[in-house]
């Protein structure tokens, strides 16, 4: 018996068959072209804002947090919608977020130990 059968999941579709079985993986439908284009336009606007903010002297004191937030927003939009993490199995998210957490740990350890800084 495979793990999928044990959990009551049809291997071909990921559909839950057992009464008591709980779905362990989300395999929702992907968005359509219209939604992809909306996300693309949003990404273009965020990029324009990033570059504009870079040139506004009055924002120089808060430049770093603004850019980091905007960058994180773009990153999330691409990963969630274009890479479908929002719609696909949670296992994929676990792998990717695990990698990102390891990177965060690496940054903290390396920059703290060797004296580097983000800015």
């Amino acid at each position: 018996m495979t793990l999928a059968e044990f959990r009551g999941i049809k291997p071909a579709t990921g559909e839950v068959t057992g009464q008591a079985a709980k779905p362990v993986h989300r395999q929702g439908a992907h968005p359509g072209p219209a939604e992809y284009i909306k996300i693309g336009l949003t990404l273009a606007v965020i990029t324009a804002v990033e570059v504009a903010v870079y040139y506004i002297d009055a924002l120089s004191d808060v430049l770093v947090p603004i850019l980091v937030v905007l960058s994180a927003l773009k990153f999330s939009l691409v990963v969630m919608w274009f890479m479908h993490l929002r719609f696909d199995s949670g296992l994929f998210s676990t792998f990717f977020v695990g990698g990102l957490m390891l990177v965060a740990a690496l940054f903290v350890v390396v920059l703290a130990t060797l004296g580097g800084a983000l800015v």
Binding site: G14, T47, S71, F82
Partner: protein, 194 residues
């Protein structure tokens, strides 16, 4: 050849997609190490040129924009094959590859320009970490372009059908990952300077 929907796995997920996500997780560490090294050493150079002497933000912004928009065309290629639109698939694959080529060409121009202004891999710590980081990213984009062109040829020969959309999805995952890495590099390397 079995299609993705016919594969039986313990997890109920396609192993190829699972493997791709594991690969991308490992790539996070690869690029994380290079970005960390850049942040650590970029302001430790004892001789110039320095980042502020060289970076051309308007030029790099356009490059970043092109790569970002190539993610849109990539995902449109996936949407096309998923609804069986072969013509759309070929158009979007080719558009994505073209935008990738534009990005890599811009990077080659930037490297040449930096080199003309005295920065090489061995000039200073900034040069070493910058070229290694952005060079490896450019190499990844180049591999992505080759994958896209291979898919285009397969589609042209009728060997990329709706049932094999997973090939495009996996290529898309790689391409989008390369894009998100550049989102981070563009902010941390170009826009946020010490």
């Amino acid at each position: 050849m079995q299609h993705s929907s016919a594969l039986e796995t313990n997890t109920g997920l396609d192993n190829r997609k699972l493997l791709m996500w594991l690969f991308l997780a490992s790539e996070c560490l690869f690029f994380g190490s290079l970005i960390g090294a850049y942040l650590l050493y970029r302001d430790k150079s004892v001789v110039g040129p320095y980042p502020e002497d060289l970076f051309d933000i308007p030029f790099t912004s356009v490059s970043a924009f092109i790569l970002l928009m190539s993610s849109v065309t990539m995902v449109l290629a996936l949407a096309a094959i998923q609804r069986g639109d072969q013509h759309g698939l070929r158009i979007w694959l080719l558009t994505t590859a073209f935008m990738g080529i534009l990005f890599v060409s811009g990077q080659a121009f930037e490297f040449t320009e930096f080199n003309r202004q005295g920065l090489s891999l061995s000039t200073n710590l900034f040069g070493t970490t910058f070229f290694v980081l952005t060079g490896f990213h450019g190499a990844h984009v180049t591999v992505g372009i080759l994958i896209l062109l291979s898919l285009f040829v397969m589609a042209q020969r009728g060997r990329l059908t709706q049932a094999e959309s997973l090939h495009v999805e996996l290529a898309g995952l790689y391409w989008h990952f390369v894009d998100v890495v550049w989102i981070v590099i563009f902010t941390l390397v170009y826009l946020i300077q010490p």
